[in-house]
């Protein structure tokens, strides 16, 4: 049940970000699907027992693949879809808890949560970069083939 509530919230949150970032209203449904995909894939991976950072990495990579496909088919820069879709993965809660613990001088929690936020955000970014690097290679290859 908790998962269903979270998924719904992720979908609605992604739509909200689409609005905040001036996405065209017609494309908001794709933002919703992206938010769903990123959080659903993360949940599935976590339940499969994988390391959390690895889950973030793979979920971000998959979501970016979705974003690249949507970018192609709707002729929109991929970053738009990447941003609104990966929002649920951003470790905002860990950051808050880390700073909260820091101000209460609870250094153990502050360090643990802060490191978690930093490493998780970096894993996500690495996942996004991985997919975009592959996409770039594919584009360059097809451009080279068209020339020859």
């Amino acid at each position: 049940m908790q998962e269903i509530i979270q998924l719904t919230a992720a979908v609605v949150g992604s739509i909200g970000f689409g609005i905040v970032f001036h996405m065209r209203p017609k494309k908001l449904k794709w933002a919703a699907l992206g938010g769903f995909l990123s959080w659903a894939s993360y949940l599935v991976l976590v339940h499969a027992g994988l390391n959390e950072y690895l889950c973030g990495f793979i979920a971000a990579a998959l979501t970016t693949a979705y974003a690249e496909i949507m970018a192609r088919s709707t002729k929109t820069p991929a970053i738009i879809y990447v941003v609104v879709s990966t929002v649920p993965l951003i470790p905002g809660a860990a950051l808050y808890r880390s700073m909260n613990a820091l101000l209460r001088q609870d250094m153990t929690v502050a360090r643990a949560q802060g490191l978690y936020a930093l490493i998780f955000a970096t894993s996500m970014a690495a996942g996004i970069v991985l997919t975009t690097l592959f996409e770039r290679m594919a584009v360059q290859r097809s451009a080279a083939e068209n020339k020859s």
Binding site: Q2, I5, Q6, T8, A9, A10, V12, G13, I15, G16, F17, G18, I19, V20, F21, H22, M23, R24, K75, T76, P77, I79, I80, V82, V83, T86, V87, P88, I90, G92, A93, L95, Y96, R97, S98, M99, N100, L102, L103, R104, A121, T122, M124, A125, A126, I128, V129, T132, L133
Partner: protein, 258 residues
């Protein structure tokens, strides 16, 4: 090609690049777009260098006919509709046959800029506020808040946006602005809970943090580092980490004095 024509071409290319940067496009995309436009207009060589706050372009049109222009980018606002529209324009410039004249391209560029900005402003009043409410409320629930927390988060999200834009008119230091409104956000969350609207002030604050956290800037910074745009990557990385910490400290500092 005459000197004047060359200057016009560089002008239109750098204008599009500047607007792309100001709408938070990746540096590599900006450099790529500007280079393509210059090549489409017959530049034999294009040296484009950009960091988040500056864009410089030197185009060569045969020997001895080189033009250099630079732009300083002062503020960055995420505007996806602008990115999309400019992306479309640059594609059109690069593919249209016969080639669009620089004058025509400039007219179209100005039209896109005005229309997109006007559209963003007309929407910003009501729809933007709805967006902020939706994001804050749904992420409060996402992290485990109940219905009352959701409503409190949504209301505070809207109030914070209003405070942020009001502060932006009287102050220029981004970090100070961020600290003030996030501190206000933390106070509001505690007030709302004290008056019975909402039960978890921490979850309400986290929902609001998700709204304002520089997630795009951070992700872009890592990507820039991977692509080899090291300077840009480091600038953005430091900026986004410092901003994120400032916001989180602002929200939590409110809890200390309550």
């Amino acid at each position: 090609m005459t000197r004047e024509e060359a200057e016009k071409i560089v002008y239109i290319a750098i204008s599009i690049g500047e607007e792309l940067l100001a709408s938070s496009a990746e540096v590599s995309r900006v450099e790529d777009t500007v280079t393509r436009i210059l090549q489409a207009y017959g530049a034999t060589r294009a040296d484009v260098f950009s960091i988040t706050s500056s864009l410089e372009v030197t185009a060569h049109f045969g020997d001895f006919n080189t033009v250099t222009q630079t732009r300083r980018i002062r503020s960055i606002n995420t505007d996806m509709a602008m990115l999309e529209a400019l992306n479309g324009l640059s594609r059109m410039i690069c593919s249209a046959e016969p080639r669009m004249t620089p004058e025509e391209a400039l007219v179209r560029f100005k039209k896109i800029r005005e229309e997109t900005k006007a559209a963003a402003e007309s929407r910003s009043a009501s729809l933007q506020m709805l967006g902020y409410a939706v994001v804050s409320g749904s992420f409060t629930v996402f992290f485990g808040g109940d219905m009352a927390d959701c409503i409190a988060g949504a209301v505070i999200g809207v109030i914070l946006k209003l405070i942020e834009s009001a502060l932006g008119k009287v102050m220029t230091n981004r970090l100070l602005i961020a600290f003030i409104w996030s501190f206000a956000g933390g106070l509001l969350a505690h007030f709302f809970v004290a008056f019975g609207l909402g039960h978890h002030s921490d979850l309400i604050s986290i929902g609001n943090i998700m709204l304002f956290i520089p997630g795009i800037a951070f992700t872009n910074s890592i990507r820039d580092l991977f692509y080899g745009d090291t300077i840009t990557g480091l600038i953005r990385f430091c900026e986004s980490v410092i901003l994120a910490i400032t916001i989180a400290v602002g929200f939590t500092a409110a809890g200390l004095i309550m």
